[in-house]
Every structure is written in structure tokens, then in C-alpha cells.
Symmetry: C2
Subunit: 456 residues, 2 copies
């Protein structure tokens, strides 16, 4: 290791002739690609704008106060600490040049690559209504989850103080838009908060009077699952107290009012808390690839990839994870879920290692081991392909699958204990409402003094 004072290289690109693999994004795809390159004769640089890998399948538990962000986050440097051929850079990619084989970073650094792996995922999609973002936040980042948590628990606090019965009911109404796994998990968790966890904590509201509504555009929730799973999930959610509205399209979200269309009818619901779980679109990197590398994009901006996950025009650029549209297997693209991203990352790492040695690799093939979604504290639906399970057994499968894939041992331990504790007590220890950090570089002094005046 070089010491601080003697190191004055101009950038971090390797000076040796070892091939340089640059991976953009430290989610499931990028991290598993980097991990799998541990013994390959390459130098690896993993770039992420955050210093941690986030276990997104459990993010809704941060949003609903069951877990803390650190419980589901693993510092990328720790995970890759023993990978001596790998450097982690906290930075943002602003552009690429596939002809010169360069990546440009926000810090004004540039990196030369031999192979580029792009795994930057997707963000929320408001179907052309980006103004809804403020009223109905989505769930992709830790900050999104803390914002959802703040809104959910703040609504009950405000209801406790509200004397107007209509406003009180609007504060106690929660709308989740989108009946995929995230929407189902959020709606189930909010119902449990209202009808179980918070019981007895308030004096001027009865939290069991809260209303949790789940909107889905298709004719059943969990549309990618088999119909049996959808029906089981619906039954379990309704038992928890969730009101499910299918074939329902949200047409407006303004001033705590959600307008929705069901066939010919248009209706409104007053709801102080609206959460968005309806759609995703490809990230910024999709557009860059279309522009700079002639990549073909699908309708939501995902990059069409070749059977080996590379670009048609550039065989040294790979796109994996949610950003990739892999349509060479089955009649639909592979779904944007963690297991697909992991397998794609591992495949690309293997391909790169073999390519360096002059060996060929067969096209990527994904073996589906099933889909999982949880509904409340002890119920889930599991689709194993050959069998559909629901209820407590499905929930146990869900628990162990998630614990198993948590990256670090201490996370596994803490999450297991926290779940066991929450299961016994119905508690939600992580329900603290936090706010914008007091002092941050982008903040004005005005905000600071305002805070000082407002303190108790």
C-alpha cells in the first residue's frame, strides 16, 4: 500500500498491462460481478455514488420501521476489502466514450477500461407525471425509505392532534399505488402498523380506524405471479384489513387527493400519505448508452442486450441487472429482481475471466428458482414454478431466503434478532421520525437559524 505523502499519481487507472474492468454500480449485479472477479487476472474498479451495497428487497422494512438502514446496507469497501485486485471509488459517472474506451467521472477523473460493466439499475417511473413525485414518493434508496417512514408515522402523529374529523380521516388514509411485490409488501406492513403495532399508543385516535388502500392497474395484484398466488395474496391482505382496488388507474395526485379511474367511473379519495410502487424506468446510463454506443432501448429505457449480455456494437460493454432487457429466453424479458442481477453479474465475471484466457463462453441462461413476496408479519406467497405456497410456510421460506442473501454475517444476525423480536412483540423499534440533517454543505444559514428558533 502506498503512503499518503508519496502518492501523487494523476489518476487511478492502472499503469500495468493487466486488463482493466470498470464496473458502474454496486447493486446486486455490479457487486456480484466484482466479487466473482476476485481470482481473475484483471484489475477491477467498482464505481458507485454511494459507499454501500443496499439489500433492496428489504427496503420496505426500513420504510415501515422494522429495520434500520445499516441493517440492510453493507459498505462496499468492507465486502471487497480482501479483493486486492479491486478498487472501490465513490463517484458518479457522467459520460462514457466507447471508442476511446473511457469513463468520465463527476470528480473530473477519467478512467480507461478494457471491459465495461454497467449495472446502474432503474428509478421510479411516474408515466409522464413527474410532478407526483413530491406527493407520492417511491422506494429505491435509503433516503426514499426514511422519507416514507417519516410520512407514515408523522400521519398518525398529526391525526392525534387534529380536531376536524374529515382531516383526521384523511391523515389516517394510506394509498399504495402499484400491486407488485413492493406495493403488496408496503400495504401489508402499513396495515400491521395501524391495526397491530400502534394499538394503545395514542389517546385521541383509534388507529384501527385507519384505511389502507392498494391500487393496481391490472385485474389482479402480483400480476407476474401465477393466478393462484395472486388470489392467496389478495385473501391474506384483505384479512389484514387492506382494501384492494384492481383495474384501477391513478389519473391525478394533488393536495392529498388521489383521483382514479375504474372503467368509465372516476373517483377521488382523500389521503395524506400516498406511496408509489407502480413503475420503474431505466437510469440515466441507458440514455448515455443509446446516445454514445448506439444501444437499442425498450419502452421503459432498458438496454437491449445480446445473448452474452454485451451491446450489439461493443462486445467490451456489458449491461446487467435491472437496466438490461434480456429477451433471449422465454416470451418476456427476464424480470428486474435480485436473483437475475446476481446471476448476470456472475456470468459476466466468468465470461471476462475466460475471455482474458482466450476461451469462449456459452450464452447466458437464467434458471428461475421462484418468486417470493411477503404479506405481513407471518404470511407470504412463494412461486417455485412447480408449486405455489402461501401462508406461514411460504413466510419461513421468504425469511431464510432473505437472511441467506444478506451480504455480511453481522447483518444476518441483527436482522434475524430484530425480526424475532418484532414477531414476538409486534413492535417497530425503528419508527423514529428523522429529518434533513441540521448542517449540510448545501444548506443556507437561514435554515439553521430557523431551526434554532423552532427548538423546544
Amino acid at each position: 500500500m502506498q503512503t499518503v505523502l508519496t502518492n501523487n499519481r494523476q489518476n487511478t487507472q492502472p499503469v500495468s498491462s493487466v486488463p482493466h474492468v470498470v464496473i458502474i454500480g454496486g447493486g446486486f449485479g455490479g457487486l456480484y460481478a466484482a466479487k466473482s472477479l476476485k481470482h481473475a487476472p484483471v484489475k477491477v474498479t467498482l464505481i458507485d455514488k454511494r459507499n454501500f451495497h443496499l439489500f433492496q428487497p428489504l427496503l420496505y422494512q426500513v420504510a415501515t420501521g422494522s429495520l434500520s438502514p445499516a441493517d440492510i446496507a453493507s459498505p462496499l469497501r468492507v465486502v471487497l476489502s480482501k479483493h486486492k485486485n479491486t478498487q472501490v471509488l465513490l463517484d458518479k459517472v457522467v459520460d462514457i466514450d466507447p471508442e476511446a474506451k473511457k469513463v468520465y467521472l463527476e470528480s473530473e477523473k477519467e478512467l480507461n477500461y478494457d471491459t465495461l460493466v454497467i449495472a446502474t439499475g432503474v428509478s421510479h417511473h411516474y408515466f409522464g407525471n413527474d410532478q407526483w413525485q413530491t406527493e407520492a414518493p417511491g422506494l429505491k434508496t435509503v433516503e426514499d425509505a426514511l422519507e416514507m417512514r417519516r410520512r407514515i408515522f408523522m400521519a398518525f402523529e398529526a391525526a392525534e392532534k387534529e380536531s376536524d374529523p374529515e382531516k383526521k380521516q384523511a391523515l389516517l388514509t394510506f394509498v399504495v399505488v402499484g400491486g407488485g411485490p413492493t406495493g403488496v409488501e408496503l400495504a401489508g406492513a402499513i396495515a400491521e402498523i395501524a391495526y397491530k403495532s400502534l394499538c394503545g399508543d395514542f389517546r385521541d385516535i383509534d388507529t384501527t380506524q385507519a384505511k389502507v388502500v392498494l391500487f393496481e392497474g391490472m385485474d389482479r395484484i402480483l400480476p407476474p405471479y401465477p393466478p393462484e398466488s395472486s388470489a392467496q395474496a389478495r385473501q391474506a391482505l384483505e384479512k389484514l384489513g387492506v382494501e384492494i382496488q384492481t383495474k384501477t388507474l391513478v389519473t391525478d395526485i394533488t393536495n392529498n387527493t388521489v383521483t382514479f379511474r375504474q372503467g368509465e367511473n372516476t373517483n377521488k379519495i382523500e389521503a395524506h400519505t400516498v406511496l408509489w410502487a407502480a413503475g420503474v424506468k431505466a437510469s440515466f446510463m441507458g440514455r448515455i448508452l443509446a446516445e454514445k454506443a448506439e444501444a437499442e432501448l425498450d419502452r421503459v429505457g432498458r438496454v437491449m442486450v445480446e445473448p452474452d449480455l454485451s451491446l450489439k456494437k461493443y462486445s467490451d460493454i456489458f449491461v446487467i441487472g435491472d437496466l438490461a432487457n434480456f429477451s433471449h429466453q422465454g416470451d418476456r424479458p427476464l424480470p428486474g429482481v435480485a436473483p437475475v442481477a446476481i446471476k448476470e453479474g456472475e456470468y459476466v465475471a466468468k465470461l471476462i475471466g475466460k475471455r482474458v484466457r482466450g476461451q469462449a463462453v456459452e450464452a447466458f441462461k437464467y434458471y428461475d428458482f421462484g418468486s417470493l413476496a411477503v404479506i405481513g408479519q407471518n404470511k407470504a406467497v412463494v412461486d417455485l414454478g412447480f408449486a405455489q405456497l402461501s401462508g406461514f410456510l411460504a413466510w419461513l421460506i421468504w425469511v431464510f431466503a432473505h437472511i441467506y442473501f444478506l451480504i455480511e454475517f453481522d447483518n444476518k444476525l441483527i436482522v434475524m434478532i430484530q425480526w424475532a423480536w418484532n414477531y414476538i412483540t409486534l413492535g417497530r423499534g425503528a419508527r423514529l421520525i428523522t429529518e434533513t440533517p441540521l448542517v449540510s454543505e448545501s444548506q443556507s444559514k437561514a435554515k439553521t437559524s430557523q431551526y434554532q428558533l423552532a427548538e423546544n
Copy 2:
């Protein structure tokens, strides 16, 4: 419990003739006062601007990535859920009227009280240099701790990318201003991060080249402790690699440069991360009490209280915890620490209960069971009055004293496991760098789109 729809009372004040105790602030003083009033024949309203009690003695561990905020926070509603005579309100007190016995809240509610207990604590004190707040954040709230964490870990990330050796060293220089318990604990933890936890995680910096400097104005660190404890703490910190500068006054903090005076000499140090642990001043409520209730304030704005913790002019207003200056015992006011606040809260609760029954109570008396400060992973100093301990035994006492006073059982369990795990691995699992929530009501759309553009 009333149901939502039938409840349309105009405010939350009690309509019965049971005496109403209003407690402002849910820290150690306010929470223990409320807890101790469980069986008193009174109605209690506890008002806090946050929905949780924060275990402040461990806040530095959140700032340095050992614990998550939820590990040391207990939702006030959960702690007081079984106290059926108690209502928790998430609100801010903006004014009081001691003649009319009213408290005015930010939500435009007003409460009538029979007895008022004020426990709103203290905030940072920059000795007239409030412009330093942005450069050198203090440590009072969860947000403060997350901001400190962000700065500490971000400095290493920036150093990894910096090619200028001088800038690199400034990024790896950490200055802690103030050698009290918080300053000592912060400096020790940062030294451990740099010299132990992060070793091997970076490729272009050697984190053992980092510099951690602790400034103290007096002639020794931990000035309120016996000189033996100060000397032991100094020795332990220096062994960890902390540079200690006593008799040192900070005269300026601008553009990552700290200017300081030692006797006649003025010096400068380039440091990207400066943390403030030097002084506190009484909160906003002190000024309100001086203005509205003729309370006498000391030099830092604390309220001078009578031997029974009440105000001279209003025997139905009590001030407890860090905000109170209790000078009726010993030659100095009681220190602003958790045990004093707890005992004051319990005393006031007992007094209120007895007063309702027409009984008198003796003046408040504090029995000091000792002071504790931790220095790194397995060393502490403990002053038990009759004996001063240091090293591993002192650390064990520190560990158990803190676990014991954590409010909830699940917090005790999680913190114990997290500590054991950190102790074995020297790890800091909670080192994730988070930012301002993406969407918050006060944020402009502009910020949101900026974020979208910047994504990888």
C-alpha cells in the same frame, strides 16, 4: 379510547378536574418525570418535537458508525403506552403564559396546565461564532450524528480520489474541539476508525497516515474529572494515536483551516473535518422563562432553580435536566449529565404526587455515583468518587452502565450484540453515508431533478 369519527373536541386539554401536568421535552429529565407519574392522581401531557427519546450518551457511536439511530432511540409512545394517564404530543412549544397557566404550541393548540415541567435541555454553543456551525457541527441530535458520520467517512472517500498530497493530508486530518467526555469519545473513535477499522479497505491512501487532533482550552482533558482520570485518559488516547493539545483556544474556523492560540502563539492546521464538542448553551425555553416568568439565567442561559427545582416566582413551574442550574449542593452547579436529569425528573414527579395529596417534600439532593468516559474500543475512565479506575475494567463498568440505562429491552439486546460484534471484528457496520431525503415537503422540485440528472 374514542374513535376517530366521533372525536371532535377542540383541543386535548382535560375536561375533568384531575390536575394536569404538562411536561415539555422527552429527554432523560422529562421522560423519567412522566414515567414516575404513572400512578399519581394526575393527567400528564408530554410534548416533544421528536417522536422518540434519544439515549444521548451513545450518540457519538452513531456519529462514528458503530450503531444505528434506532438502536439508541425509543419511541416515546411505546415507552409510555401503558401509562393510561399520559398523552404524548409531537409538537413544539412556542410560548408560555405563567399567569394564565397556558402553553402555546406550534400547531396553534393551547394547553392549560396545573403544573409545568420544563426539560428542554441545551444546544451547541459557539461562543459568539455561530458562523462556525457549518464548518464544525456539534452533536446533539440524530441528524447531527448522521452529518458527522457523513463527514468522517466522506473524508476518507475523497482522500482516496485526491491526487494532490497536501489536499490528501487535509482530508485525512480530523480536529475535535473540546476535551470533555464527548470530545474524548469522538477523538478515540475516529482514531480507531482510521488506524484499525478502515485498514486495508482503500487502495490509494494509507489510513494510518490520518491525523486526529483534540483541542482543549483548559490545562487537561476531562476537566470536571479528578486529575488522575485526566492523565489516564490522555495516556490511553495518545496510545491510540490521538494528538492532544491542551491550553489551546480555537480562534477561527474557515475554509477547512482551524486557527488556534496557545499562550502567545497563533497556529493553523488544515483539516477537512472539524467536529465541535466545546460548549453548550441553554435552549430557547430559557429565554422564554426569563421573559415571561422572571426566571434568573446563568451565563450560558441555564435557569436558576429553587431547592425544589421550581422557579422563584412560580412554584408550579419546574425546570429540570441540563436546562436547570441547581446550585444548592456543593460549590458548583450539578453537571449536565443523564443521571442528574433522571434523578431530577423522578424527584419532581414525587413532589407533584405528594403536593396533590397535600404533603410536603424535602429539597432535592443528588447522590453522585460517579462519572464515566470511554476511550476507544476497550478502555474507559471511571470516577466513582472514592476510587478512579481506568482501562478494561473501567470499560466493562461503562458498558454495563449504558446497557442498563437503555430504555427498551430490544435496544439493550441489539446494542450488546452490535458491540460484541464490533469488538471482535473492529468493524463499523453502520458506516453508510446517507444524505438529505430525496423528497421532503420543504424541498423544491429543482433539487429533485438535479438528483435525477446526477444519478449513475
